[in-house]
Amino acid sequence: MSSSSNVNRTGLLETYSYDDQIVRMFVFATIIWGAVAMLLGITIAFQLATWKMNFGLQWMTFGRLRPLHTNAAIFAFCGNAMFAGIYYSHQRLLKARLFNDALSRIHFWGWQAIIVAAAITLPLGLTRGKEYAELEWPITIAIAVVWVVFAVNFFGTLVRRRERHIYVAIWFYIATIVTVAVLHIVNGLSLPVTWTKSYSVYSGVQDALVQWWYGHNAVAFFLTTPFLGLMYYFVPKAANRPVYSYRLSIIHFWSLVFIYIWAGPHHLLYTTLPEWAQTLGMVFSIALWAPSWGGMINGLMTLRGVWDKVRTDIILKFMALSLTFYGMSTFEGPLLSIKSVNAIGHFTDWIPGHVHAGTIGWNYLLIAGILYFLVTKLWKTEIYSKTIANIQFWMATIGLSLYYVSMVVAGITQSLMWRAIDANGKLVYPNFIETVVKIVPMYWVRAFGGTFVFVSFLLMGYNLYKTMQQGSVGIEEVYEAYALDDSSVEKNATQHRKLEGLPLVFGVLSLIAILVGSAIEIVPTMLSNHYISKIDAVKPYSPLELIGRDIYIREGCYLCHSQQVRPMVHEVLRYGKQSEAGEFIYDHPFQWGSKRTGPDLARVGGKYPNMWHYRHMLNPRDVTPQSIMPIYKWLVEQKIDYATLTRKLQVMKQLGVPYSDAQINNGVMSAQTQARTITEDLMKSGVPAEVEDKELVALISYLQRIGVDYGSLPKSN
């Protein structure tokens, strides 16, 4: 309706063009990194089905590749897709070229450089040990800088717009940019030890809360809000239909942005996080159901009247299925947040199942629709092969279904086995490994389902490549539109309509909306001494244990082993005394984990002899037949790094861990003494004396310390 909005316009008639080359660049990056992310995904899926797929190489073990997979899928694949879609639609919705071509290129190459840095550092074991925030501090800073470049480019374009009001897609983009910046910076705060090592400034419960506030909202504001924005542009475009309800857009946007941020603690139900925070996380997750579905309704109802086209138009087909998966996942999310359901689902494969219904079902399928749309528009041609696109569609759907169903079955099966207690008050399956062996067939199904999805993606890559080849980029077209002046102001506009003409105010209000929940949940952990009751028996780690803990973090142990005994009968029977908040105050970062592929380790200290750990790390199957854990033989080859120890202790002291100056100065000597004691014990079983300065000894010292200080106290209740 350009005609009506141009009626009686008095502003200067200006000419402009779009920077579509930057969109093409992001499209290329999306296709390449998408393939990489999925290849990594099936690699680690097969590693769970058979440990041999770890190949005995340290940079290829599950614990190091899993963070690379998640980072690649979220930030490389979905990130580049988001930037492609935003840069394409933002210019058109505002009738303005992107603010600055050079900034766009810095944004592009900066982001790709960060991805390459991640692909190098994560397999090397350089990690902050916090899920989806693993990248070490120099890269974390680089992400913040590139994000600011993106923000300047984005808001600069808004300033130069020739459309008075901003469309709902842009509301979601604004919320994304503002919130991701806040999340990334707050969760990223660390003190560096070296260029490649840092410690989170938060510890224990506090670190867990900040981490899952971040982790949950990475899903919310990196995988949901920007893609809802893209949905609001590309679905009505592809369907040539008006958006179903403007009113629904307004109410679901503001409620979604306000509520989502509170839901993080549902990742910490039954943990030692104070219960009021857990309850807030649960109830806001329930309240989030309707706002989430607002987006699905607006998307699917926009397709009303063109359902016949959904059957034939491959782009609409992808979008319709994507919205359906979005609806399913955003129903399952609140369901899993209910405490009693969470008790069953948490720590099991149900959660990766849930996550992949979102990232594959919602993100990948929507991105597929958007990529076909963008490539045909930007190369001015038709899709090369609708047949290939259809095969891709069905392979992705079948693959995801295999993935999802196998993971839900595995998760619930294992959870029920964990919980089973007989009439004598004993666990029916006391050996954890029994519950693993039971679900290994499901790991195979998942891996093959993932392979289907990966192949479907390769088919799309080929199809898009051939589409580009048959089309041509052409020259930049020039358009004209009136500059904004008083004549573009609507008479009798509603309050919200007025707000849509004030993007910066809109940004500030979004910021306030997300800060309310954040502040109410997080600030008490920073201020109150009552938040965590101190336990006198809990002391800082010894210098050698600290080194061992860093090895534990480096190898990504937390990705398969939790450190949190929940207050549940079966957990206390299986693992020992339930965890308490005061146990974790020196844990920078916390290592509670989110998945139990292996058993919980919160009380593993002292449970086995040193020699057990020695055998176990060199070949887990020596002590646990049928174990699926990788071998860690390099731990008896690599020397303990004593050079950075003093600095590590100093940084820990700065973070509030009460090491005395003497303890810091004598750190190396004390660590070597402890290493000798452990080695002497191992030597009794015939281990050669050379292990004394090897990493495995440090790791054993840490494992033997976990949960001991509080766990060995006499039972009080």
């Binding site: 350009s2 857009s249 109830v283 004993k426 206390v572 029977l573 020596d622 079983s685």
Partner: protein, 200 residues
Amino acid sequence: MSDNNNDNKTKLHLEEGEDKILLDHSYDGIQELDNPLPSWWKFTFYGGFAFAFFYFILFQIMGAPTLREEFKKEYAVIEELQEKFNKANGVFDEVKYLAILKDDGVKKGQVVFETNCIPCHKEKGIGDIGPNLTDEYWINSKGTPATNFPVVFNGVPEKGMPTWSASLSNEEIYQVVSYVQTLHNTHQPGGKAPQGNKVE
């Protein structure tokens, strides 16, 4: 030069009656309808908030039982069951032992040993992570069935010997004890150095 919006306008698909609720907004040809909020959605929306409000009040302010309180109650029941079981089964019963011994106890015990004990005590009990069972030195017992039984049943958690009554049936414990008895003083080659006290 062209107005980039024109191509879309002509193709916009409208259902019957939608022209009346079509808003005047247009962004790159995208328009919006002014449909009311679906009533079932509004119900879910307000229902979610109402649930959130009352649930929070009930559990955090009115003092409904916390997760930890509920756990304590459940755990007390389980502890009672276990105590009963341990009282009934945790003491060595000579009669039962002899009966099991008669019923192929050693042979069955070897199977139990090979599935559960080998990771630490190795085949034939020569010892590795755990002590050598083929010499005359014992750490926690006197090497007799009556003194070995509680070591298996209760474990020696501080030394890394698990509480086997948690995962083995009582029969299996008697069986494995009878098998271990046959290893005693066999001095298998390659055994671990002696630990504990010599028992004559």
